[in-house]
């Protein structure tokens, strides 16, 4: 398959364009997704190809248009709703949590809601507390929804195509700081399966489980640690729900040490779920250190650059956490 380097933004767009060329029932709906091209330029050029009826600018009515998309999906269409900043998802919680996520189950399996909700999350842009959150764990907590958070252009394209194909409602988390990152992406359409993690770096000494932008921070940290003779294994979850337990457990069994790197706030973040799944399993006995989490501080995201950096995970914080873990007292099960 011929491939070339494109940005994450272009990869997301390419998946949408491909799906819309293949299937008349796929459409994109959201605020400023038309001539403006989306707040982050993801849909730039699409309205010119597909017209205003399939690349649909909406009024500022997240509940209304996400509810509409859920209804269109119930009727068999394949809507992609864009929420301009993931913080605004609070406006459509009823539509996502009580409607889209529940219809199949409460109707006894007699309905499907094949909708994708794309949205950029995360901090690091100086946008402060209402435009920087990482709220994806909320949806991991809702049976009936799937949550994906690709970290590379390759996975963004492949996972978005899988999400559009999927008969369930899928939340597709992008990150503002990923849009300009480049990577190898095949020109042809392909699918990355939902629910499959990838081991992006092999190592023997410690397992780092991560997703999204944090995957890149983990890789940077791994390189720095490697210079010091520590070889981390990095597991990029890619999908948060359903979580790929097997990939996590097999890596932990190999290294005996677990560090989770996540951008959302630490308390009740999805990293807690990763740790629980390990310690509740037989793989617990493979651990020779207590697991650690590098996560956002339990505060809203502050505006000031230094304050913002202070509360977010960084590659340096990951390095520190791994070193501290290695220096910690060994467990009795070793």
């Amino acid at each position: 398959m011929p491939s070339r380097e494109i940005t994450y933004r272009e990869a997301v767009r390419e998946a949408m364009v491909h799906a819309m060329r293949e299937d008349e029932e796929v459409f994109l709906m959201g605020e400023d997704v038309g001539v403006y091209g989306g707040a982050f330029g993801v849909s730039r050029g699409m309205v010119e190809e597909f017209g205003e009826e399939r690349v649909v600018d909406t009024p500022i009515s997240e509940a209304g248009y996400v509810g509409l998309c859920a209804g269109a999906a119930l009727m068999g269409m394949r809507p992609i709703a864009e929420i301009q900043f993931s913080d605004f998802i609070t406006h459509c919680m009823d539509q996502l949590v009580n409607q889209a996520a529940k219809m199949r189950y409460m109707f006894g399996g007699e309905a499907t809601v094949p909708m994708v909700v794309r949205t950029p999350g995360g901090a690091g842009t100086g946008a402060a507390a209402q435009h920087s959150q990482s709220l994806e764990a909320w949806f991991v907590h809702v049976p009936g929804l799937k949550v994906v958070m690709p970290s590379t252009p390759h996975d963004a394209k492949g996972l978005l195509l899988s999400a559009i194909d999927d008969p369930n409602t899928v939340l597709f988390y992008e990150h503002k700081l990923l849009y300009n990152r480049k990577g190898e992406v095949p020109e042809e359409p392909y699918r990355v399966p939902i629910g499959e993690a990838s081991v992006s770096r092999e190592g023997e000494d410690v397992t780092i489980v991560t997703a999204g932008l944090m995957h890149h921070y983990a890789l940077e940290a791994a390189e720095a640690l490697s210079d010091g003779g520590v070889e981390p294994e990095v597991v990029d979850l890619r999908t948060l729900s359903p979580m790929d337990d097997a990939a996590i457990l097999s890596s932990v069994e190999k290294t005996g040490k677990l560090v989770v790197v996540e951008e959302d706030v630490k308390t009740a973040g999805w990293g807690a779920e990763v740790v629980s799944r390990v310690v509740e399993s037989e793989s617990f006995y493979a651990l020779d250190r207590a697991p650690a989490r590098v996560a956002g501080a339990d505060v809203p995201i502050p505006y000031n650059r230094n304050l913002e950096a202070h509360v977010r995970p960084t590659p340096e914080k990951v390095v520190e956490a791994v070193r501290a873990l290695l220096d910690a007292r060994k467990g009795v099960y070793a």
């Binding site: 009826e53 009515s61 509810g67 859920a70 409607q99 189950y105 109707f107 006894g108 007699e110």
Partner: protein, 318 residues
């Protein structure tokens, strides 16, 4: 106006709806049903009159007070009774209960436990019809309580700007649980709000089946002609409490009696007699038949097996 045989059928549907909910109310009183339900008794003419105006391929969305909508749409009372009793043979295989009865394949897109929860879904159905160039419409039932939810504003606006074939049918039954519409809104009619969205607003006497029917028909013509949505208000009244736990502390016995005197079933039956469409004693026969049909549905449902416990873990994902 419907043809003569259809008119008698509409009376039959109202009676089925009435006896279904009275039966459920009794079963709750006897402690024989688990959970809760909301009764449509007194409002039957709205669902039956409006749904009779639909054609093949049209869809409805319903509310927490949805048994009457389901019956009028043609759902099978046996499977509805089975669902109320939580049986595997119910529409939702015992997973939905009263507030989630649906038959999506047939176009009944679901009762909904969230006030205003189905308004987005109705717009989605309208969107699908428009995109697919189908000559169909979505009939969205909601209560006057939902008219004060944010989703009301968002969906009416979206439907209006995109001229979606959606009929927003507000059943103004005077109370959102205990909250009187007079205290909850500062306007006379819910339909007055239509002007804010640039769509027609019509208030009909909800106890008069024909008036509801004609108003719905007009709204449907407009929707099918590509002219967009209508906000229809049917002024009606629920005789029974909000749900099984209601002690009716917020209204008087006299008020309920006043409305009962305008009973929609009674009114329609008398009308059919005057039109010569009901023979002597036929109303009584229909009444008895409907009562029997509902008794039979619940008796059959009682005999149905419970769902397998493991089925609780199925159908989360497709």
């Amino acid at each position: 106006m419907q043809d003569n045989r259809d008119r008698v059928e509409l009376l039959r549907q109202m009676l089925l709806s009435r006896y279904f909910d009275e039966k459920v109310n009794d079963l709750y009183a006897e402690g024989k049903v688990h959970g809760t339900a909301h009764f449509y008794v007194g409002q039957e003419s709205v669902a039956v009159g409006a749904i009779a105006a639909l054609k093949e391929g049209d869809v409805i969305t319903s509310t927490h007070r949805g048994h009457g909508h389901a019956i009028a749409f043609g759902l099978d009372v046996d499977r509805m009774a089975a669902e109320l009793l939580g049986k595997a043979a119910g529409y939702c295989h015992g997973k939905g209960g009263s507030m989630h009865i649906a038959d999506v394949g047939a176009g009944m897109l679901g009762a909904n436990g969230i006030v205003g929860g189905s308004m987005g879904i109705a717009c989605g159905a309208g969107w699908a019809f428009k995109r697919r160039n189908q000559d169909n419409a979505a009939l969205c039932f909601f209560g006057e309580g939902a008219a004060n939810e944010g989703i009301f504003h968002e969906t009416l606006n979206l439907a209006a700007i995109w001229k979606l074939p959606v009929i927003f049918l507000c059943e103004n039954n005077q109370y959102g649980m205990s909250m009187s519409v007079k205290k909850a809104t500062a306007i006379e009619n819910i339909s007055d709000r239509a002007v804010a969205y640039g769509m027609p607003g019509v208030t009909a006497d909800g106890t008069d089946l024909d008036e509801v029917h004609e108003a719905t028909q007009k709204a449907l013509e407009r929707a099918r002609a590509g002219e967009g949505p209508t906000l229809l208000e049917a002024v009606t009244y629920r005789y029974l409490g909000h749900s099984k736990s209601d002690a009716n502390l917020y209204r008087t016995r006299e008020e309920i009696q006043t409305w009962r005197k305008r009973d929609p079933i009674q009114r329609f039956a008398v009308k059919l007699e005057e039109e010569g469409l009901l023979k002597e004693n036929e109303w009584r026969e229909l009444d008895e038949e409907a009562k029997q049909r509902i008794e039979e549905a619940f008796e059959k449902a009682q005999q149905q097996p419970e769902p397998e416990p493991e089925s609780a873990l199925e159908d989360v994902y497709a």
